[in-house]
């Protein structure tokens, strides 16, 4: 969100620096594609929306005054284009918080309220025993997390992707996805718990 460094980027674009343009496309397109995908019916259309947004940037670059960051500008234009396409396709994704009140860790992992130690762990989380072949840094763990991320419900997947994969902060994510701060936290909480659970299954399987 640094508008000062954006001035340099915008100047470079105006001067026709293709490398700067390519870097921006590579940096922002994944998150743009993910956000666009919530408004339109297919990945193909979402990709068109991302392309149209970059073309709109080129068209509008001389008028860019740096009142907002380049990133904010890009996403605002993206969402406008995506909504226009989405309305045409009659797609909208209401926030789905189904089951959001339920626990993220199975109740049978805990002692009952009648127990001497109520609501304490009955089956506590096990240590994740790592080895050179089986570690958090392995490509296997990475593949596992990626595939679990892909299986999350759409809104959870988006929030986790933007927050934990791409490093956007909560205020930005709320604005991009048009969710409240509280709902954003619920989605993040459930998504992260599922990713942890998948890793736990993987690391506990050997012990």
């Amino acid at each position: 969100m640094n508008t000062a460094s954006d001035v340099g980027l915008v100047d470079a674009l105006r001067a026709g620096d293709e490398r700067v343009f390519a870097d921006l496309v590579d940096r922002y397109s994944p998150a743009m594609l993910a956000v666009a995908r919530t408004h339109v019916a297919s990945r193909e259309v979402a990709e068109d929306v991302v392309q149209d947004t970059w073309l709109a940037l080129l068209k509008g670059i001389d008028g860019f005054e740096g009142r907002s960051s380049l990133r904010t500008w890009l996403f605002r234009v993206l969402i406008n284009i995506a909504k226009t396409r989405g309305v045409r396709e009659k797609r909208s994704v209401p926030i789905d918080l189904t089951g959001a009140d339920g626990p993220t860790v199975r109740p049978d992992r805990f002692r009952p309220v009648t127990d001497q130690y109520p609501r304490n762990w009955a089956y506590p989380p096990q240590a994740w025993t790592q080895s050179p072949e089986r570690s958090l840094l392995s490509s296997e763990a990475l593949d596992l997390v990626r595939s679990e991320l892909d299986q999350l419900p759409e809104q959870q997947r988006l929030v986790v992707a933007l927050r934990d994969v791409d490093g956007y902060d909560s205020v930005e994510v709320c604005a991009l996805l048009d969710v409240t701060a509280a709902n954003q936290r619920v989605l993040l909480h459930r998504g992260r718990a599922r990713i942890r659970h998948a890793l736990a299954d993987y690391f506990e399987a050997v012990s």
């Binding site: 343009f21 392309q51 609501r119 990626r146 992707a161 994969v165 993040l188 909480h189 992260r192």
Partner: protein, 88 residues
């Protein structure tokens, strides 16, 4: 019940995100911290959530196709050529 026992592990695990987001109110935060001091399994759980975030940080999100990227770079060159034509 008083002290750390007033927060069960089952409550703790549902508060980890609000804790990491710094959204717990002061009394709940104090009980959360007290629970952490006394409960190694919950320390482990919290660390595993952090570990999950670290692995997530290494994931690369799906992006536009190489073909779409090439089209954009071609469009950029055309746009640039049009601009230098204007100024000359």
């Amino acid at each position: 019940m008083t002290g750390p026992e007033s927060m069960g592990c089952q409550d703790f695990v549902e508060l980890v995100t609000d804790y990491l987001e710094d959204r717990l109110d002061a009394p709940t935060r104090a009980r959360f911290d007290a629970h952490l001091d006394l409960c190694p399994p919950c320390v482990r759980y919290l660390q595993q959530i952090r570990d999950a975030r670290e692995v997530l940080g290494r994931v690369e999100l799906d992006t536009i196709s190489a073909g779409a990227r090439d089209q954009l770079l071609t469009a950029f060159r055309t746009w640039r050529a049009g601009r230098s034509g204007e100024s000359s």
